[in-house]
């Protein structure tokens, strides 16, 4: 059934992806641009690794609204983690520490979420209900994220079809993980509580490239509102991937859109190869029912091993468990992703659930690398009663962890006979991914009893609607018609200046290319001088263009005005020069050029113009100067 073998990434075609039934959807997290956090009045967007204090908490699973425990919750509880939160006074108050109930939702954030929802063409909800979405990994000190749906059922055009937007929610951001070693996980809390929106698309993308392209469209669409944060970590994607016969797998926290294609390719390959593994197991007669395993304590046999990790473990008085997987010989070397094998699926589980975080945390008899001596494998095999077609897996740790580890090995190996377990997986830099936790379901939702539902009046939506920019795809079409430079079209459409552009071009009748270049390119150029400067506000640009229209400044003066604004934070316009003054400058410059030794006569005029412009730049249009001295302007300017 699963005959197809995955080719290297570059060689995969659309047809290949169609063959495996590649399907992918996105969950896009985008921080909103607000002054304050979502449910408290802490300042938003101040990040630092420094901290003043630490607190320690544990998480316990609770029942969902419908009276059920969530699978992830139970898994996290098994791990028995100690969670440490690092706290900085300036950015965290008692709300984030879960020592104060939430304050009312930040209205600006809610408005932004509603506006973006409308931009996606969503059906907006009439009454917003804040829910608690359980996260027992500790990434939020309450153990849940406050989140609410604001719109459902939107869409964006892509190629010649539509990508569905299933829902758009507003929620608070989580902590950043600092470390996760053994039974202790450390978080820094600066990002905690930041308002963000989550946009969930349908599983409508058919190739890895499509996933990245749709992510780009969504990113640019929300940016065009000017209501979102930009920069590192302000936008993050979770990517859902499945293949025919597979399971929806969620890859969490992809920080860069460019890494999406390789990640989704590898995940599709992993699922496909796990399905092939199931077929191989079936061929060997191993099914969920007939699966057999055995676990034994083999610490004694390995007392004198020279394999360093186990030698160390024995010195520390740890226990070594051996799990026998009947009939699994060779299968731990079964390829799942690029340079990655089934043994890693098992190792990941042991790492996360049994908290055995020092790698290697398992070794197995299929391994071609250096492990324990062949004679030791033989002795273990004899003790546990293994046959030639079995595989042995060793796991070590203190008694409890070694036992949990052995259990997880059995659980994961058995799952291979069933298919692909529902998991969330974490993205790695090399484009592969690893197990993070069991995929949580709707059972982890619980209504937030701390805050009442919030009615959204139609009038509010109507008002917000007026602030919306045109959709980027509509604007891009118009810009192409206006023939503005191609490299400016996309950035302009995704910028917050689209309305301003429209006004300047339509109402003020300014040259579209000139306006677009001023809004986008000038700013880009200035960014190299002032890398830390914020984007120029729309109101500031309005003032600048007003000055231009009323003849206070020249075209060049626009650039200089922007520069001085970024430099000093104040708008200062260089006054336009009078023509008598210009005549004097020209005269002085002519005298100056005559004193120079210029060999190339042709350059003479250019140098003259250069001298003049140095004195009058921004105060008069360069073209007027050229006219005045009779320069035809065949050169650059």
């Amino acid at each position: 059934m699963h005959k197809f073998i995955f080719k290297p990434f570059d060689e995969m075609t659309e047809k290949d992806y169609a063959m495996v039934g590649f399907k992918s959807g996105l969950e896009i997290h985008q921080q909103l641009l607000t002054e304050k956090k979502l449910f408290c009045r802490c300042p938003a967007g101040r990040y630092s690794d420094k901290y003043d204090a630490e607190i320690l908490r544990h998480m316990r699973p609770t029942l969902s609204e419908l009276g059920e425990y969530d699978g992830t919750a139970l898994m996290e509880f098994k791990t028995k983690k100690e969670i440490i939160y690092r706290i900085k006074r300036e950015t965290v108050c008692t709300y984030e520490m879960d020592d104060t109930p939430p304050f009312q939702i930040d209205e600006h954030a809610l408005d932004s979420a509603l506006a973006i929802g409308m931009l996606y063409g969503c059906t907006m909800v009439d009454e917003v209900h804040i829910a608690r979405k359980q996260y027992l990994d500790g990434s939020i000190p309450t153990g849940f994220q406050r989140t609410a749906i604001v719109g459902v059922d939107g869409k964006i055009p892509y190629k010649n079809r539509e990508i569905k937007i299933i829902q758009l929610s507003i929620e608070e951001d989580a902590c950043r993980e600092v470390s996760d070693i053994g039974h202790r996980r450390v978080y820094i809390t600066d990002r905690l509580g930041m308002p963000l929106i989550e946009t969930v698309t349908g599983p409508d993308m058919r190739t890895p490239i499509e996933v990245a392209e749709v992510a780009q469209i969504c990113r640019r669409l929300v940016r065009s509102t000017g209501r979102v944060r930009t920069g590192i970590g302000a936008g993050r994607e979770d990517v859902n991937v499945s293949v025919t016969g597979g399971t929806r797998i969620e890859i969490k926290g992809v920080p860069r859109i460019v890494s999406i294609p390789l990640l989704t390719y590898n995940e599709a390959m992993r699922q496909w190869n796990l399905l092939r593994l199931r077929e191989e197991l079936k061929r060997r007669g191993i099914t969920e029912k007939s699966f057999k395993s055995k676990t034994e304590n083999v610490t004694k046999i390995l007392r004198k091993t020279r394999y360093q990790p186990i030698q160390n473990a024995i010195e520390q008085g740890m226990k070594i468990n051996c799990v026998l997987l009947q009939g699994y010989k060779g299968l731990l070397r079964w390829q799942t992703q690029t340079d990655t094998y089934f043994s890693r699926e098992i190792s990941d589980r042991v790492r996360v659930v049994a908290c055995l975080t020092t790698l290697p945390n398992i070794i197995h008899s299929d391994s071609s690398g250096d492990t324990i001596a062949a004679s030791e494998w033989q002795n273990i095999k004899k003790q546990i009663g293994g046959k030639d077609d079995d595989t042995l897996v060793l796991v070590w740790g203190d008694e409890q962890d070694a036992n949990t580890g052995a259990q997880e090995i059995v659980i994961r190996a058995k799952e291979a006979t069933i298919g692909i377990p529902s998991e969330t997986r974490q993205a790695f830099r090399d484009g592969t991914n690893g197990f993070e936790r069991i995929l949580p379901g709707p059972d982890r939702m619980y209504p937030d009893t701390d805050l009442p539902p919030k009615r959204i009046e139609d009038e509010k939506l109507e008002k917000l609607c007026l602030t919306l920019p045109n959709r980027i795809w509509e604007n891009e079409k118009w810009y192409r018609k206006l023939k503005i430079p191609p490299n400016v079209i996309e950035p302009l459409a995704a910028s917050k200046y689209t309305k301003l552009f429209e006004m300047l071009v339509k109402n003020s009748k300014l040259n579209p290319t000139f306006v677009a270049v001023a809004l986008i390119q000038y700013q880009k150029r200035l960014k190299t001088y002032f890398p830390k400067a914020k984007q120029i506000e729309i109101e500031t640009f309005e003032e600048i263009f007003e000055a231009f229209k009323s003849g206070i400044i020249s075209r060049e003066g626009i650039f200089l005005a922007m520069k001085s604004f970024l430099e000093s934070g104040k708008l200062r316009f260089a006054k336009k020069i009078k023509s008598t003054e210009l005549t004097k400058v020209i005269k002085d410059s002519k005298i100056a050029t005559k004193k120079m030794k210029i060999q190339n006569e042709e350059k003479k005029t250019e140098i003259l113009i250069g001298l003049i412009m140095n004195k009058v730049r921004g105060k008069i249009d360069g073209k007027l100067v050229a006219d005045k001295i009779g320069f035809s302007g065949k050169g650059k300017r």
Partner: protein
């Protein structure tokens, strides 16, 4: 009004649901003028508006749909929620001590209430075990639900009932008693139980939670473990409050029932011993006494339960510009005792004097405590204090105002003879008045000071 079938709905939303025969818990597709939604109709909070229908979408999220936009509701089925923690029988081990958990309510035992949308106390203490199985490692636990009320609704009836229940359990020979209680008035109940139940041979431990047990980060589980451990293993035979020491999940503190007070509206580490130090620290590992003058556990059953209580007692929290009519109205309403929380060392303004004189003449017991909470009443320092004593106001030493209120109610329950009442009031029964305030009995660290910040950065808060 809505019946259970349309739980919480009223007005327009109710008539819309009735129109389509869509009961709560129906699995539906709702078509509106804006779009369609699929999910389960949930009950609605009675305090919410009559204009919206709430559904749980497939994703688990809830949203509200304006009833006036609903065009059609298609019903596909029904899925009713059963919010219930699996109740397991507590394992019995003859080698382990027997502990009784008496439930009165509060957030340690709470669940979602669809009627109000808020959290209500509803778990039977038995169900608590289902969620905190670690308790079985400590003791054999029996539970009994006495009441299911928010702590602000606790009153003389509940105090008496709880004291009597404690007496019965001691009579039966339990090794320790835990009382689940809402936190708001836990220190009031702790105080009255300290007077109503005297000479207990076993620990009596009050416990609650600041984050309800329906939250993963709840302090309920750890507080329960700490309190049950204290009841089962400690040698402290007093009425105590057992709540978080720091906000971190590290240890709890055992506060003497007459010196403890809730000091923050929402922090986990809200309970503090005032004007003294707590009796002990408790973790899941061990109990560490930090003083040794507590009453020790005994093998007898010689407990004294005395639940007499006079309800006509009031606390008057003095403020500048208070008018005498406040006191007059208590006199006219036949109050028998007044505890004043005065300013500073225990003062009120002159305009109140005539009213205080009236109170004395009418035989009302008036005691002075301090609203500074820390420190003693000292009415000799200023003339005004002496004047007031002339008017019959009795200084209540370092009794906390709430404790003074409880004790005066209890004392007036014993006798109407004001001299005898005075004797009872001024003779410490359970540490409510101490002879001396140790220098570390008043420590409110001031954030921002370098040495305090250094301390905070070193130890988990």
């Amino acid at each position: 009004m809505a019946t259970d079938e349309y739980k919480g709905y009223r007005g327009e939303a109710l008539s819309t649901l009735k129109n389509f025969n869509a009961l709560v818990w129906s699995d539906v597709e709702i078509k509106t003028s804006k779009g369609s939604y699929t999910g389960i109709i949930l009950p609605r909070s009675e305090t919410a508006d009559p204009l919206h229908v709430v559904i749980k979408l497939r994703s688990g999220y809830n949203i509200g749909i304006a009833a006036n936009k609903i065009q059609n509701i298609k019903i596909a089925g029904r899925k009713e929620a059963h919010y219930k923690i699996p109740e397991k029988e507590f394992p019995f081990d003859p080698k382990k001590p027997n502990v009784k958990l008496l439930g009165t309510g509060g957030t340690i035992a709470s669940r979602l209430d669809y009627r109000t949308g808020a959290v209500i106390p509803a778990f039977s203490p038995g169900e608590l075990y289902g969620s905190v199985p670690e308790l079985a490692d400590i003791c054999n636990l029996e539970t009994e639900k006495l009441y299911g009320v928010f702590s602000e609704n606790m009153g003389p009836e509940q105090w008496r009932g709880t004291a009597e229940a404690i007496g019965r359990e001691i009579e039966k020979g339990v090794q320790g008693i835990v009382i689940g209680h809402g936190t708001d008035t836990m220190h009031h109940t702790a105080a009255i139980l300290s007077f109503m139940v005297q000479n207990s041979p076993v620990p009596i431990v009050m416990v609650g939670s600041q984050r309800s047990s329906d939250r993963p980060s709840s302090d309920a589980a750890l507080n329960l473990q700490h309190s049950v451990k204290t009841a089962a293993e400690s040698d402290i035979a007093e009425v105590m409050v057992c709540m978080f020491g720091p906000t971190s999940d590290t240890y709890g503190l055992l506060h003497r029932g007459t010196r403890v007070r809730k000091m923050h509206s929402s922090y986990r580490s809200t309970f503090r011993t005032i004007g003294d130090i707590p009796i002990a620290m408790v973790s899941t590992e061990k109990i560490t006494p930090i003083r040794n003058d507590y009453k020790k556990r005994r093998n007898d059953k010689n407990v004294i339960v005395n639940t007499a209580f006079e309800e006509k007692v009031s606390i008057v929290y003095y403020y500048p510009n208070m008018k005498p009519d406040i006191i007059d109205s208590l006199i006219d309403n036949d109050y028998k005792g007044i505890v004043i929380a005065g300013t500073g060392l225990g003062h009120v303004n002159k305009p109140l004097y005539p009213a205080l004189k009236r109170a004395k003449e009418k035989g009302i017991a008036v005691y002075m405590t301090v609203q500074t909470l820390w420190g003693y009443v000292q009415m000799y320092v200023y003339d005004t204090g002496r004047d007031m004593m002339e008017l019959g106001v009795i200084p209540g030493a370092n009794m906390l105002p709430e404790v003074g209120y409880m004790k005066l109610g209890w004392a007036l329950g014993q006798t109407n003879d004001l001299e005898k009442v005075r004797d009872i009031m001024m003779t410490p029964i359970a540490g409510e008045i101490t002879e001396r305030e140790p220098s570390n009995g008043y420590l409110i660290f001031q954030g921002g000071i370098p040495e305090v910040e250094e301390f905070i950065s070193k130890y988990r808060k």
